[in-house]
């Protein structure tokens, strides 16, 4: 479970002063649920997710992930989170096996446990062919599979995806979307940020629309359609963000 209460993150810039990258954000994600954080570039999605993954400390407000506080139990939070983003890359000079094993060890797993889990993940993700090849020689698809295996090696209860399909071709993006659905099927708590409307429509149980660091609207797709009188997600988004921009 993820719970955020009035979560705020302020960056201080010499020229621009205080920047509210995340401003008073409150939401909850249940196990077996995918929460879609939908917003344009610079809306505050990445900052919010980085705070939840304890990469950044919140300025104000609180959040708990898998029952642990992000501010004072950061290591426990990270032990229960799998974080996959376009910005989380692989070590090019390591093989896929070495990369995944390394993260297994960092998560406190024993070598036999890592080997067993790796065998299982390799079969599920069809990785056996390139498991012992160096990551810098991988195609985008191979890289994504290795990253997925890296996030899943310790079988976390919470999965955080930050624009995981950014820059990927259709087939690789579809594989990612399928994998996110599988996570929900396994009862994991999933939060998924994107600016691609179709992904939100296909995947998310609850959608939060974020703009200028603020969570402007929240609800299921059906609820949002009803509330804003539109069927198309893009139209709903423009309506919400446009209203905010006008006010």
């Amino acid at each position: 479970m993820i719970e955020a209460h009035h979560l705020t993150k302020i960056f201080r810039d010499k020229k621009r002063g205080e920047i509210f990258a995340a401003n008073d954000i409150t939401f909850r994600v249940q196990p077996g649920q995918i929460y879609g954080l939908l917003g344009a570039n610079g809306a505050g999605k990445t900052t919010t997710l980085r705070v939840l993954a304890t990469l950044l400390a919140p300025t104000r407000g609180t959040a708990t992930v898998a029952g642990f506080d992000v501010a004072c139990e950061a290591e426990k939070v990270r032990a229960n989170v799998g974080f996959l983003a376009a910005s989380t890359a692989l070590y090019g000079r390591l093989t896929a096996r070495e990369m995944i094993t390394y993260f297994g060890r960092l998560n406190g797993m024993t070598d036999p446990a890592i080997r067993a889990r790796l065998k299982q993940l390799s079969a599920e993700l069809d990785m056996s062919e390139f498991l012992d090849r160096r990551c810098d020689k991988f195609s985008t698809g191979m890289k994504q599979k290795t990253s997925i295996a890296r996030t899943l090696i310790h079988d976390p209860a919470v999965m955080i995806f930050d624009e995981p399909t950014l820059g990927l071709d259709v087939m690789t993006a579809r594989a990612i979307v399928r994998f996110v659905r599988d996570c929900r099927g396994r009862g994991k708590t999933v939060i998924y940020s994107t600016h691609v409307m179709s992904e939100v429509e296909k995947l998310c149980d609850v959608i939060g629309i974020i703009h200028g660091g603020k969570l402007l609207a929240e609800g299921s797709l059906a609820e949002l359609r009803q509330r804003f009188g539109e069927t198309d997600m893009e139209e709903i988004f423009v309506k919400i963000v446009g209203e905010e921009g006008a006010s």
């Binding site: 980085r50 993954a53 990469l55 950044l56 400390a57 290591e75 426990k76 990270r78 032990a79 989170v81 974080f83 983003a85 910005s87 989380t88 890359a89 692989l90 070590y91 090019g92 000079r93 390591l94 070495e98 390394y102 993260f103 060890r105 960092l106 998560n107 406190g108 890296r150």
Partner: protein, 410 residues
């Protein structure tokens, strides 16, 4: 602090770095090659040039001497010189290296000698030009012999013993063992090389493990793991320190091997030891070093290597990219070299104040230790202060790694 996590991070970084060509170049290849290159390359070229210059018969011109035919005749007959006709532009010829030296025999030189006067002979030469100096050396030797002969003739004429002009003799007896002499000869250059290699050995792993990781996007991946920040810093820092110390280790190993092979190549161990104590020849380019002094140097370098590793790590961590880190760290090399160079200068001796100046203190104490001087009070101050500076640098590195604006500076 969790040692299991620190070791896990360290071992991964070690494996990763051993696959990085730039790191291998700065921590293993260059330190291994620097001493053989200096000895067999620069050393061999220098000794060849000196020997070649020594073998040449210098061309000299005799100015004047028309009324001193005996002296002029002796100069012409000497096989040590090649006498060429004197011209008015002899100074230009010396400058143009067509003439090595010219000797001015004053008017009435021989008559003056007979009359008991002390006429002055002038030698023209080009200061700093190797072959001109060899020519001057031969001329001075000739004139010294002529003077001694004149003194002996005068004493014989008066039936006086030769000991009248030379009442006693003296000689030098070297008590310093060859390795101490070696320490004095290269005591300055060894710490200089160690300091440079230690820093460059730390520099590349530091850039790769911090700015390089940020640039490649693997830093965020690593930060997602449940390992405490301090454990990540220490694991990475140990790898940077390994780079720094291995650069020193490979250099010392290569230096020992070079000395062993160069000794036999330039004339064997016994010849080498003798050569050090005697006049400079090609063999003296490979002096012996006191092994105890070398162990002392290694012990003194360790805290400095820790400081280098922590400073390089902190600065590189601040950079957004490998290139930016390079632009910060490359100029720092000059800051590192400067105290090492000052330490090499003759006449600068270690004192309590200089013992607190980082790097300069190391350079000076290493020079002393390699030449067999052990000032334990200064050694303690230097070791203590180096540990203190290293601890501050390491604490700074940990603090920097905890700062969001540094880690996510893009």
């Amino acid at each position: 602090m969790n040692w299991h996590n620190i070791v896990t991070v360290y071992l991964k970084e070690l494996k990763d770095s051993l696959r990085d060509r730039r790191t291998l170049l700065s921590t293993i290849i260059i330190p291994t090659l620097v001493m053989p290159l200096l000895t067999f390359g620069v050393g061999k070229v220098a000794s060849t040039v000196i020997n070649k210059a020594r073998e040449e018969t210098p061309s000299i011109a005799i100015l004047g001497g028309e009324d001193s035919p005996a002296v002029v005749q002796q100069l012409r007959e000497s096989k040590k010189f090649h006498v060429v006709p004197a011209t008015a532009n002899f100074k230009q010829l010396i400058t143009d290296k067509q003439l090595r030296a010219a000797v001015q025999i004053p008017a009435g030189f021989e008559a003056g000698l007979k009359a008991g006067a002390a006429p002055a002979v002038t030698i023209y030469h080009y200061e700093g030009e190797l072959k001109s100096q060899f020519g001057v050396g031969e001329l001075e030797r000739f004139l010294r012999e002529l003077r001694d002969k004149t003194v002996a003739d005068r004493l014989a004429e008066r039936s006086l013993p030769t000991t009248l002009a030379k009442p006693f003799d003296f000689k030098r007896e070297n008590v310093a063992p060859p390795e101490k002499v070696g320490g004095n000869l290269i005591g300055g250059i060894v710490p200089y090389l160690i300091i440079i290699l230690c820093f460059s050995g730390a520099m590349y792993p530091a850039m790769d493990l911090t700015a390089g990781e940020k640039e490649r996007g693997t830093m965020e991946t690593l930060l997602c793991s449940p390992v405490a920040r301090v454990d990540i810093v220490l694991g990475k820092f140990l790898m940077v320190l390994t780079g720094s110390l291995s650069a020193m280790g490979f250099m010392l190993l290569s230096m020992s091997t070079t000395a062993f092979f160069a000794g036999s190549m330039f004339g064997g161990g016994a010849v080498r030891a003798q050569a050090v104590a005697n006049a400079p020849t090609s063999e003296s380019l490979i002096p012996m070093i006191d092994p105890i002094g070398l162990i002392g140097v290694v012990a003194m370098v360790v805290p400095v290597a820790v400081m280098f590793a922590a400073v390089a790590f902190t600065i590189a961590l601040f950079a957004k990219s490998y290139k930016e880190a390079q632009s910060y760290l490359a100029p720092l090399m000059i800051v590192v070299i400067l105290p090492a160079v000052i330490g090499m200068l003759p006449g600068i001796d270690l004192n309590a104040r200089l013992a607190l100046v980082p790097l300069l203190n190391l350079s000076l104490v290493c020079k002393e230790m390699l030449s067999g001087v052990w000032h334990w009070n200064y050694i303690a101050i230097i070791f203590g202060s180096s540990c203190f500076y290293a601890a501050i640098a390491l604490a700074l590195a940990v603090q920097m790694f905890k700062r969001e604006d540094v880690i996510f500076r893009t």
